[in-house]
Symmetry: C2
Subunit: 214 residues, 2 copies
């Protein structure tokens, strides 16, 4: 019978993930044009799909932008959850997180603006859901890791929300204003090279500050 | 003769500073509505002047927004210049600056968005002038103060541009997203109360980091 093929099963090629392709196209266009105001038709064209598919997959532009935010922050939030329950010390957890968040903003320098746009436009329920899914886990991570470090005698007491604001603000500031970065950064320093330098700087600043210890 | 009056000279009332009133009105409306997209007619109405005066004093909307940026950052830049040539230690200069910059963002939480909007729209010459007037003095301050601290054995070597980005990013992040701040900050904490708490936090973080010193 022809149903049982002699070699390995020949499944139809996996349907290309249109959803991912659309989100990736949007991310690229937002970075290239340095604005969130990207037309959905341009996004669809970049992804080589019919723009009606955006409506099909995401409902509307708000749904599409929320999906992009989830994609860009979601990874970091998942990694934080894994980190939190690991056996590592508070210092190691926080170091891993700092380099992860710097990478996230390097890859998606529009993250803060996107979060701001979505949270400003959200009604009460949507805003609470956003905070619940993306912001609360971040703050919990800071709270729990700091508590762990304080209990172990490694870290001093510090407000987790303020530390969260500082870290996110520093990453946002460095990567989001490309024109200013290019003007101020050392000659020829690319954002790729800057990512490594900045991560080392941020980790040392957060743990040690700038005062020279005797 | 009636020209010589018996009492103190009665000068006509000083012409109210229409320019300042317009800038103050714009600042208030931008904060209240949490957007830079404020109609000039609304600004003029808030300042109780004819909207034609905006054109008279500032040329156009770009000129008006640049004047607002200058007003809001200009003060901080002037204070940094004075601080820089003072006899204070690097630590004292930087502490004074940190509390000044936190105050500036507390008063004008839209500062970063305004800088971004203006610098993105600027042509090469306008951008260079902006950097020259507002950003370079800030970076020079960091460079010179850190060099002073390093020479005195008080501070470790740290990239001044990265430190500048961190400080500005942290202030921006804390004060600019009011909805998120209100949701995350401790119950009933106003931004006024937060300013003091945040300033203490920022100064300690920058100098000492969060590692507990043995």
């Amino acid at each position: 019978m022809a149903i049982i093929s002699p070699g390995p099963l020949k499944l139809p090629p996996k349907r290309p993930d249109v959803r991912d392709a659309l989100l990736q196209a949007a991310s690229e266009l937002i970075i290239e044009r340095d604005t969130l105001e990207v037309a959905l038709t341009d996004v669809a064209q970049r992804a080589s799909v019919n723009s009606a598919l955006i409506q099909y997959y995401f409902g509307n532009k708000d749904g599409f932008l929320l999906a992009l935010l989830n994609r860009d922050i979601g990874d970091a939030v998942r990694r934080m959850r894994i980190l939190l329950v690991s056996e590592a010390t508070a210092t190691d957890k926080l170091t891993a997180h700092l380099s992860g968040i710097a990478r996230a903003y390097h890859r998606a320098p529009y993250l803060n603006r996107l979060l701001r746009m979505i949270s400003n436009a959200a009604d009460e329920d949507a805003f609470e859901e956003l905070v619940h899914k993306l912001i609360d886990p971040m703050c919990s991570f800071y709270r729990d890791v700091i508590a762990q470090g304080v209990a172990a005698g490694d870290l001093r007491e510090v407000d987790p929300v303020l530390l969260y604001f500082t870290v996110v603000g520093a990453c946002d500031q460095l990567f989001s204003n490309r024109r200013l970065f290019n003007r101020l950064a050392a000659e020829g320093r690319t954002t790729d090279a800057a990512l490594g330098v900045f991560t080392d700087y941020l980790v040392t600043l957060v743990f040690e500050g700038i005062r020279l210890q005797p």
